[in-house]
């Protein structure tokens, strides 16, 4: 017994030592709510799993999903992000500047990018294998990204890490529960307990935006591995809380925002934390401008008490205030609720209600970007990218009013399928309605034109726009190509998609810095928000109608070709093997030995040929050289009349 005890103590000690030296596997779950100005609520689930580096921890994991670990090792992935999105992020009313918007607003469909730690000549092969693996893992047709016409290797505009980066997106991929289930399987508690048990499928798929993301970073293959693999799984949903008055009336803008609770949003509550999670937290974030607008009715901001504009059903455990706010007027506040010590007897159901009406607006991206198609018809068209200033860039102008010319740097990355043949030399830029020379605005541009059926066209561009501009537009003309008949997708008449362009603003770093109070524990989500990151925004997906053949055409073509061939070969053979003199001789010899029926037949045929019949015998040629003699006509009419009468009286 004592021996066993000592062994177990030793074992524990060894375990302890090893965990001390290389860190533990960790899993945290977090959920963030944020009221949005247009009466909706943003819910952002954030799950993070960490696996310590292999060289110190070994190959076996308790929490970390094996599938991902193997994926990372097999394809030597440094960084990878996969997102499934349904709906569009509304940059105008949900904001485009804060970390959540800029990292979780994704283009519709599937987007995948990955950085590999392999020699450059093996990157494409790794990418292809990766797409197939992910396709199997997530029940989605990510394998369509395998084709070299679907992905590209952006040099510098997409992310600063270049070289081994591959990027591809499938705008038409439909997202549903079949993609969510495998995603949930990567969590240690799946959706059986913890925050993920809130994910009631009907409610999360009936929202206005649904984006499920998987982000992977690993430094496994670095010489000095520190962090191991970090798997970050987020689900961002925008939901409309049910409110009694569905109809905003005339004075709708001054109405009370809808109150909500976890059970009203999801139809479920949290019974307790996931037992395997290190921490399980719920946050409510109020934006800076909202806090600012509430200030006059709010006496003491520092303490959440009953006299504020809003209330919680559960009192918050902690509060974090933003410091160094970009927005000069207000600072955002995060209220934290931990559900660590909750017991299953008392389900955790956070509710939030408003006491007074308030309006605010989110911090928008520096420019409002919209992309659209120009022109009509099946021959050609143009892609236009319109950039419009928002309040943000206006305030920027005020801030940087120090004489020298202020510039706004905008990076554009655009991938265009090969059947949209973009003529990059036709690029035109208009700033405030005036045409500008490209050299004045474009700082750097790299273009790789599309190659038919091989690679898509890629355009990367750095624009330097004057800060005081109101609107700028960039147009590119294109010709619509033709596809081979078996290259058309089943729903070819819908049109073809141009994936979203990515607009980023490297001059601006979004970062929310929170003053952490002493009681707060380390939260991966909050620390994620504190990271500096470039603001990204995606444009709309475009639909280009291409010329589509009539798909019953092959049949028609085969029929008509066969007819033409038959006619051609028939007449050719006829001309080749026919001997007129011989025929004549043959006929004459035949005529001599012809019977009465034969005589009649030859007579008739000669008449039909419109040629005076030469009688074989001494009978004189028939006087009528007409094609149809009156006799024949009368006979035909007679027969027709008899047939008709018979039908008429018999039927």
């Amino acid at each position: 017994m004592s021996r066993f005890l000592s062994i177990s103590i030793l074992l524990l000690f060894v375990l302890y030592v090893s965990s001390e030296s290389a860190g533990e596997e960790e899993f945290t779950e977090e959920l963030l709510f944020r009221p949005l100005p247009d009466r909706k609520v943003l819910s952002h689930f954030h799950f993070e799993s960490r696996a310590p580096p292999t060289n110190s921890y070994g190959h076996h994991h308790r929490l970390f999903p094996k599938a991902i670990y193997q994926l990372v090792h097999k394809y030597r992935i440094k960084q990878m992000e996969l997102s499934f999105t349904q709906g569009r992020w509304n940059y105008d009313s949900w904001g485009g500047f804060d970390p959540i918007a800029s990292s979780n607003a994704k283009p519709p469909g599937v987007e995948l990018w990955a950085v590999f730690d392999v020699p450059p000549d093996q990157v494409d092969a790794s990418w292809k294998n990766l797409t197939h693996t992910l396709s199997g893992l997530f029940c989605a047709s990510i394998n369509f990204l395998e084709s070299s016409t679907a992905y590209s290797a952006p040099d510098w505009s997409f992310r600063s890490l270049s070289g081994n980066l591959r990027y591809g997106s499938l705008p038409r991929e439909a997202v549903c529960t079949e993609n969510l289930t495998p995603w949930l399987k990567l969590l240690p508690c799946r959706d059986k307990s913890g925050l993920s048990s809130l994910m009631n499928r009907p409610s999360i798929y009936s929202g206005f935006y649904h984006s499920q993301r998987l982000h992977l970073t690993s430094d496994e293959f670095d010489p000095v591995a520190l962090n191991g693999i970090v798997l970050e799984q987020t689900l961002t949903i925008v939901l409309q809380p049910d409110s009694l008055e569905t109809h905003p009336s005339f004075s709708g803008s001054r109405k009370l925002q809808p109150s909500w609770s976890m059970s009203s949003l999801f139809g479920k509550t949290v019974d307790g934390k996931c037992a395997l999670a290190k921490s399980s937290n719920v946050y409510v974030q109020l934006e800076g401008s909202l806090v600012y607008n509430m200030k006059n009715t709010w006496n003491s901001i520092d303490s959440y008490e009953g006299d504020s504009n809003f209330g919680f059903t559960v009192s918050p455990d902690r509060m974090m205030k933003e410091i160094n706010s970009v927005d000069k007027e207000g600072y955002s506040i995060i209220y934290g609720f931990s559900i660590n010590n909750d017991h299953s007897s008392k389900p955790f159901d956070l509710g939030f209600w408003w006491k007074l009406p308030v309006t605010w607006s989110c911090v928008k991206a520096p420019l409002r970007v919209s992309r659209f198609l120009m022109g009509s018809g099946n021959e050609k068209g143009a892609i236009a990218l319109s950039l419009q200033s928002t309040e943000w860039s206006q305030s920027l102008l005020k801030a940087d009013n120090d004489g020298e010319k202020c510039n706004l740097r905008v990076d554009v990355f655009q991938l265009v399928p090969w059947y949209i043949k973009v003529y990059y030399h036709t690029t035109k830029i208009y700033v405030d309605g005036a045409s500008q020379s490209l050299g004045d605005i474009i700082e750097k541009m790299s273009v790789s034109p599309s190659e038919d059926k091989v690679s898509p066209g890629v355009m990367e561009m750095i624009l330097r726009l004057p800060c005081d501009m109101k609107s700028a537009s960039l147009t590119l003309e294109f010709d619509k190509g033709f596809l081979h008949i078996d290259e058309y997708p089943p729903d070819a008449n819908q049109g073809f998609d141009i994936p979203s362009a990515i607009i980023s603003y490297p001059d601006f770093q979004t970062r929310l810095q929170y003053k952490l109070d002493t009681t707060s524990i380390k939260s991966p989500m909050v620390s994620k928000m504190q990271e500096r990151r470039t603001i990204l925004s995606y444009t709309e997906v475009l639909l280009v109608p291409l010329t589509t053949p009539d798909f019953s055409m092959p049949y028609n073509v085969i029929t008509i070709t066969c007819t033409v061939f038959a006619l051609y070969f028939g007449s050719l053979l006829n001309a080749l093997r026919r001997r007129v003199g011989e025929e004549e001789r043959l006929r004459k010899s035949k005529d001599k030995s012809t019977g009465k029926l034969r005589l009649l037949l030859s007579k008739l045929s000669a008449k039909l040929r419109g040629k005076p019949w030469e009688p074989p015998s001494s009978t004189p040629p028939s006087s009528s050289s007409k094609f149809i003699s009156t006799k024949v006509v009368i006979k035909i009419i007679l027969i027709a009349a008899i047939a008709f009468g018979w039908q008429y009286y018999d039927g």
Partner: protein, 680 residues
């Protein structure tokens, strides 16, 4: 090849197809008579041959969902109508107040609102960009803010859609003189919009365009579409004066002045309400579909609308028809003939479903004639025509209530009906994954649920046109024969046909010049339509004489000249049938008998000359216009002025019919007269 006479005893044997050709050419007279009669007969038979429409695209599934429009939506629409009416009676600056009110309501419903301001672009004749879209030149004369019209555009973003496609609802209204009908149509759109902001099944975005039609209904929609599809980024096209913009002081919320977009358009519906005053037992729905140059929207769109209107809302669906034809006795007579033939056919074999009742036939042909005329004219029948220029299927739905009483209940009922109908159509189109492509684009309607497809109506035209090449060949071969007979010593010159061709070419050149003349006539300031018309006519005549005297055409043999004329008419008609079938059909009805019959009066008999004269007189476009007008009884205004306006509308709408008349019809007519007066 076929024409070389075969005088030798042993004729070389021809291939059967060549022999058939020779035979047909030899009997060209019978062939012409038979073909022409058959062509006209086939045209008369079209209402009988019309098929029932059917929804071809399965995805549309019209009427499969229960209408969701609620009392709340309709009461909101009622309030909106009341506000509009009260504003209309009170306010002064209506062309600012009404768009603002509409924008406010759109924003309150949850739409994304933007204004689109545009100036009236007067239709000018640009001979050089006839088929191309005219680029707006910088003709921004410093105009006042009153000259700007404001379209209000509300967009609903489909909650879970990807925003690649959209459906457009258009309600034209005139803010300066807002009629109750226009407020009703705005109310219908409001109720639909209010519903669609809340539904979860939207896959395509919805655009509600409240089109300011003070510069014309078509122009407002066309201006918006132009800015939607081909915006001019240059400064000249933009509005730079800020004071013209509507100030957003009431609604501080987002009403943007930049045009908001929502992807590729899948379909467009123009909603109108009229008060025809005719008392029927049902509310009626008129469908207008003809766009420029006889282009039609996909038949499926019309099918869905008429299916939902008839089966869902119990509306009586009508297509535009020529009312004066309904009482014509000769049409009734033909109908009776067809009916008896159909009866006999059915008694012979009950499975032969041939023949329709007289009433049906007369109505069918009245609709068919109107459909043919509208397509032939090439002028769109409503603001839906603007969409067709961008390959968007669009129709106008004109709801005419049986009796527009001012009672509240009646209005609510109408809002419900219209709203449900529009909702159903939008729901069907929303189901559509692909664009409309399944059903017909080339068709003529004989009633709202019967159509004649291209495969059927083409036969009539082909039969009409077929005698032309036969006659040309026959005339040519006859001339050669007679030439060979008369002067055997001189070898036949095969290029003899070149002399008449030169004449024909000159006349066609003249036709081209005539078609360009209006551009120069417009340069003359302050002229009356009548004087313009006279100047045009006299200038044309003068040019014809000048051309004739300069290039003194050798007086060719009339037969050869006729042969070339006939073949050129054939080519012209065939070309036109590709561009606008209906024009070619009507043109063939006029041209073919004239071309076939014409003969120098010295050669022809008295009867034939008289007939020729009648045909030639009727064949002149102006004369045709007046004859048709007097027959069908449209009488308004001075006829010359009216004719000028008619022609003006043709080129203002870029109708290919204008080109056809000037470059095919009139030259042929001139050549026919030339042949008629030929001094042999």
């Amino acid at each position: 090849m076929a024409s070389t006479p075969e005088t030798e005893g042993q004729k070389p044997k021809h291939r059967p197809i060549v022999r058939i050709g020779i035979f047909i050419i030899a009997h060209s007279f019978i062939v012409s008579v038979v073909c022409c009669t058959a062509g006209v007969l086939a045209l008369l038979l079209l209402p009988v041959l019309a098929k029932k429409t059917y929804v071809s695209e399965n995805a549309l599934m019209p009427g499969s969902a229960i209408p969701m429009i609620t009392d709340q939506d309709v009461s909101g629409a009622n309030n909106f109508i009341n506000e509009l009416t009260s504003l209309n009676s009170k306010s002064q600056s209506l062309n600012i107040e009404i768009p603002r009110l509409i924008a406010l309501h759109m924003a309150n419903l949850g739409g994304e609102v933007s204004y689109h301001m545009f100036q009236n672009q007067p239709n000018k004749f640009h001979p050089l960009h006839f088929f191309t879209s005219t680029d707006t030149e910088a003709n921004n004369v410093n105009q006042t803010c009153e000259s700007y019209a404001t379209n209000t555009v509300g967009i609903i973003r489909a909650p879970r859609g990807d925003g690649k496609e959209c459906i457009v609802l258009v309600t034209p209204y005139n803010p300066v003189n807002l009629s109750p009908n226009e407020t009703l149509s705005l109310g219908i759109a409001y109720s639909v919009f209010s519903l669609l902001t809340q539904v979860s099944w939207l896959a395509k975005d919805i655009i509600w365009l409240a089109a300011d039609s003070q510069h014309g209904q078509y122009n407002s929609v066309a201006a918006w579409l132009k800015d939607y599809h081909t915006p001019s980024f240059g400064g000249s096209g933009k509005l730079h004066d800020d004071e013209c913009h509507i100030s957003n002081d009431i609604i501080a919320t987002e009403v943007s002045d930049t045009l908001r977009r929502a992807g590729t358009m899948a379909a467009a519906l123009v909603i109108k309400v009229t008060n025809t005053g005719e008392a029927g037992e049902q509310d009626a729905l008129n469908i207008y579909a003809e766009a420029s140059n006889g282009q039609m929207p996909n038949l499926d769109l019309i099918n869905v609308v008429s299916y939902l209107a008839v089966h869902g809302q119990g509306l009586r669906v009508q297509v535009d028809k020529l009312v004066s034809l309904l009482d014509s006795t000769w049409l009734k007579f033909i109908g009776e003939v067809f009916e008896t033939v159909g009866k006999i056919a059915r008694s012979v074999n009950p499975q032969w479903k041939f023949g329709i009742s007289v009433k049906e036939y007369v109505e069918g042909s009245a609709t068919l004639v109107s459909s043919l005329y509208n397509q032939a004219l090439g002028v769109p029948t409503g603001s839906h025509g603007a969409f067709r220029d961008y390959q968007v299927d669009a129709i106008t739905m004109e709801i005419s209530p049986k009796l527009l009483s001012n009672s509240k209940g009646r209005q609510t009922e109408l809002l419900f009906r219209g709203g449900r109908l529009v909702e159903g159509v939008i729901r069907s189109v929303n189901n559509l994954l692909e664009k409309f492509h399944q059903s017909f684009f080339l068709y003529l309607l004989t009633s709202s649920n019967k159509f004649v497809s291209v495969g059927v109506y083409m036969i009539a035209f082909l039969l009409l046109v077929a005698p032309l090449p036969v006659l040309a060949a026959s005339l040519f071969s006859d001339t050669i024969k007679s030439y060979v007979k008369s002067e055997k010593n001189e070898p036949f010159k095969s290029w003899r046909w070149l002399y008449p061709t030169k004449t024909v070419f000159l006349v066609y050149l003249w036709g081209a010049i005539v078609s360009l003349l209006p551009y120069f006539i417009y340069q003359i300031p302050d002229s009356q339509p009548t004087s313009r018309l006279l100047i045009w006519a006299s200038l044309s005549l003068f040019i014809l004489i000048v051309l004739g005297s300069f290039f003194r055409a050798r007086s060719a043999e009339w037969a050869l000249l006729k042969s070339v004329t006939v073949s050129s008419a054939f080519v012209g008609l065939c070309l036109m049938s590709v561009i606008n079938f209906a024009t070619a059909e009507i043109g063939a009805l006029l041209l073919v008998p004239m071309c076939l019959m014409t003969k120098p009066w010295r050669v022809a008999g008295k009867v034939q000359s008289a007939l020729n004269l009648v045909l030639v007189i009727i064949g002149f476009p102006g004369a045709t216009f007046f004859v048709v007008k007097s027959v069908f009884g449209f009488e308004n205004g001075s006829s010359l002025v009216e004719f000028w306006y008619w022609v003006e509308s043709l080129w203002a709408w870029n109708s290919a019919t204008y080109i056809y008349i000037c470059m095919v019809h009139i030259p042929c007519w001139v050549l026919c007269i030339y042949i008629l007066l030929h001094p042999c």
